[in-house]
């Protein structure tokens, strides 16, 4: 089965960094019994996400590890970068500017698209690339949802 692809378009000028949104998304998926792999740009970015998962809310607890550390078997939430292999193939959250070469081994791929123009343009490229592989990505426009909620 080819993966389901979802684009999450983030609202502009959010007070909170993108990582907070990712944490909430991870939290939701974890509580729905999914295993999640978060693919980041660099070791530094991975560590930022790790720190955010560990601290973003005092009452939240999201069992996770960075690639290369932690106990075996690995926890349900995995943060990785640089094509490092992922421990499982359920939900992939892509935070990088590339489409990871291994995306189609997952059941579901989530592309997080921040509001900056450059990232939006990149996302359109990714969208096209997925289409060329015969996939039909969904778009979830959080900016629009927010506008609706406010109106």
């Amino acid at each position: 089965m080819p993966p389901r692809i979802d684009f999450y378009l983030l609202a502009e000028q959010s007070e909170q960094p993108v990582e907070h949104f990712v944490c909430r998304l991870v939290e939701k998926a974890y509580h729905a019994n999914h295993r999640i792999c978060v693919y980041t740009d660099s070791a530094k970015h991975a560590e930022l996400l790790d720190e955010t998962l560990w601290t973003f809310r005092p009452d939240a607890f999201l069992p996770h590890h960075l690639c290369g550390e932690g106990p075996t078997p690995p926890p349900p939430i995995h943060i990785t970068y640089d094509n490092a292999p992922c421990a499982h193939q359920d939900v992939l959250i892509n935070l990088t500017s590339q489409i990871p070469s291994f995306f189609n081994t997952f059941r579901r791929v989530i592309e997080i698209v921040p509001a900056e123009d450059e990232r939006r343009a990149q996302a359109r490229e990714h969208y096209k690339a997925y289409r060329q592989q015969g996939l039909t990505p969904q778009t979830i426009d959080l900016a629009a949802r927010e506008r609706e909620a406010q109106s």
Binding site: E47, D50, E51, W54, T55, P58, F61, P63, H64, H65, L66, G68, E69, G70, P71, T72, P74, P75
Partner: protein
């Protein structure tokens, strides 16, 4: 009965009260007053009360004040002899003088802590002390014996606590002649017990408490019927201590001592019966052989792992034979002297116990053994002590207060209360008054492998070194195993400029004194440093814990409990191993912030804390404090400390 009001308790612990006047640094605390009121209510209405009082609550005063004001008879039991001395010599007189209450108080220790005049007389001249050291120690003891009032062997600092002479000049329940003793009137044990009987407040320790109850040795057992309240401090240890004493055991040492005492008695009361000497020699040889049959190693295992060994079975039956020969001769000579008669009775009892403990395993008991360098112990430990504990509590209408800094797991008392059968107790949970959000930081380092990985300790030290630099020493490194401690000590050697103090190289008290004196030392310790250590101020600013402290499932007691829970369809990990580890971790973490001005970093190295769902239970059971995985934040934390 004096009826103490809530007002009197509140007033005693208020900012203008007598305690504040006696202690210049005292400041009143809500949680302390809450606890004091709860204890007062419990004493007044003979209730059962469980109190978890986080570090800094001031729980000692919170129970001493209502206990002293109540005018009732109160037994207080502490976790160790050291804490017992501290309470009796420091806190109790302070509160008594401050409140100006005319209470009589007494300290009661186990009989092994008091000189036995009969045994001192027996051993003198019998020539059974072999080493020069023992002979000179005996001389020192004799001189002291002539002057001591209380006969508490802790008074005699000149003779080491572990000296061979002590078992020779102190009594056990086995070898005590009781009322038949010529020295009964002057007996130090009896005098200590009498003082306790006549006092309002008696301070004991958990070991003595349960040993006396279980062995029906008088002392605590005869205090209880008169007590209006019993207060257990460090109560989180109770179920382990109770398990230990509500069981049966036989040790090679008990049988060795019997043989030695027979030798001495022979010298005094039946010198012509040289047969006795041959027979005690045979018993001692059989004991040595039995120790060898367990193999050289120090072991702590279930009995079934050795029960079928042919070599051991042969050693057991040899020992039984030698004991039965000795018993036969003793029966004949028993009438020739009190000591011989007593040795005969002991021989009968010990043989019976030995037979029971080397026989088949009872269903409701854990049957296990331990070997030491030259000794062994075989034990039956009850799986469940709740019935015995309840029977003890219900024997007398009294208040029972059980308190500790660590009773609750994730805000629940079940894990503590259920094994003791405490189903309807009043519960009170008091958070530490310290501001952990400001005073502390929880750091979980990155890049550590699975805790069972062979390179785990190396990775841990690699992660700890920059933290130790940032904290400028001033740290405890607490380990869950001796192996990891040894390896870590080797790895740290030469890698840090701060003084390293390693458990096992010096006595515990010496290490702690050195740690406080250095002010920038790094102390490496295992279990004995997780509890009851109080280092206030900057000398201790960082506590590093190597792993989540799960008890070894290979331990025979743990193994048996797990197996029994599985049989009952329970989840042993969730219901037993996990909550036990939470309590231990809470104890270790409790070392860090001891005062309102303390600041410190808690470094929990185990990656399972973040990666396993149960990490949440550990976090919820600790005081809430900021978390990080960034070394830079740890460094910033210590920079702030330096500037404030």
């Amino acid at each position: 009965m004096l009826d103490v009001s809530k007002d009197a308790v509140d007033e005693a612990l208020s900012s203008e009260g007598p305690i504040a006047k006696a202690l210049p640094h005292f400041s009143p605390r809500d949680s302390q007053q809450q606890m004091a009121n709860a204890v007062q209510q419990a004493i007044r209405h003979a209730q059962v009360l469980l109190v978890e009082a986080g570090t800094g609550t001031g729980k000692t005063f919170a129970y001493l004040v209502p206990a002293l004001l109540s005018g009732q008879r109160v037994v207080i039991s502490t976790g160790t002899k050291t804490l017992q001395d501290q309470l009796f010599k420091r806190d109790l007189p302070l509160v008594r003088d401050a409140l100006a209450t005319p209470v009589k108080m007494a300290l009661l220790k186990g009989r092994a802590n008091y000189l036995c005049l009969h045994r001192l007389e027996q051993v003198q001249g019998a020539g059974f002390l072999h080493s020069k050291q023992a002979v000179s120690d005996l001389q020192t003891v004799r001189e002291w014996a002539a002057t001591t009032q209380e006969g508490d062997i802790a008074e005699l600092g000149a003779v080491a606590e572990s000296a061979d002479v002590w078992p020779q000049v102190t009594s056990t329940k086995d070898n005590c002649l009781g009322q038949e003793c010529a020295y009964f009137k002057d007996c130090h044990v009896m005098k200590a017990r009498r003082r306790a009987q006549e006092s309002d407040i008696v301070v004991v320790n958990h070991h003595l408490f349960f040993a006396d109850i279980a062995l029906r040795d008088e002392g605590v057992a005869e205090l209880l019927p008169e007590a209006d309240a019993v207060i257990f401090d460090e109560a989180h240890q109770l179920s382990d201590v109770a398990m230990n004493f509500f069981g049966d055991s036989i040790s090679s040492r008990q049988l060795f001592e019997l043989a030695q005492d027979v030798n001495i008695a022979h010298f005094k009361e039946a010198k012509d019966m040289s047969k006795l000497l041959q027979q005690t020699d045979a018993v001692q040889l059989a004991l040595k052989n039995m120790r060898l049959a367990f193999g050289k190693m120090m072991r702590r295992e279930a009995w079934h792992t050795v029960g079928n060994s042919l070599e051991l079975q042969a050693a057991i039956s040899d020992l039984k034979k030698t004991l039965s020969l000795l018993q036969g001769t003793l029966e004949v000579v028993a009438e020739r002297g009190k000591t011989l008669e007593q040795c005969y009775r002991r021989c009968v009892e010990l043989s019976a116990t030995f037979n029971a403990l080397t026989g088949s395993s009872p269903a409701d008991q854990i049957h296990w053994f331990e070997t030491f360098q030259r000794a062994f112990v075989i034990r039956h430990t009850p799986m469940d002590v709740s019935e015995q504990f309840q029977a003890m509590m219900q024997a007398k209408q009294a208040a029972w207060v059980l308190t500790s800094a660590t009773l609750a797991v994730g805000q629940q008392f079940t894990h503590f209360a259920a094994p003791l059968g405490l189903n309807h107790a009043k519960e009170l949970l008091l958070d530490s008054p310290f501001d952990f959000e400001k005073q502390a930081l929880l750091y979980v380092p990155r890049a550590l492998p699975d805790p069972s990985a062979s390179d785990y300790t190396e990775a841990l030290i690699h992660a700890a070194l920059p933290v130790l630099e940032a904290s400028k020493g001033r740290a405890f490194l607490l380990f869950t195993s001796h192996r990891a401690l040894k390896l870590a000590a080797e790895l740290l050697e030469g890698k840090t400029e701060y003084p390293l103090l390693v458990q096992g190289t010096q006595p515990r008290a010496t290490l702690l004194t050195a740690f406080r004196a250095h002010g920038n030392a790094i102390l490496l310790g295992t279990s004995s440093f997780w509890e009851g250590v109080d280092v206030r101020g900057e000398a201790l600013s960082c506590v590093i814990i190597d792993k989540l402290p799960f008890a070894s499932p290979g331990d025979p007691l743990i193994e048996a409990r797990i197996a029994s829970m599985k049989k009952q369809g329970k989840n042993a990990f969730m219901e037993y191993q996990l909550p036990s580890a939470v309590i231990t971790l809470k104890q270790g973490v409790g070392r860090l912030i001891r005062d309102i001005d303390d600041r410190g970093v808690l470094m929990l190295c185990d990656p399972r804390l973040i990666a396993r769902p149960y990490g949440k239970l550990f976090l919820n059971s600790l005081p809430s404090m900021p978390r990080t995985r960034e070394l830079a934040k740890v460094q910033d934390f210590f920079k702030e400390t330096a500037t404030t």
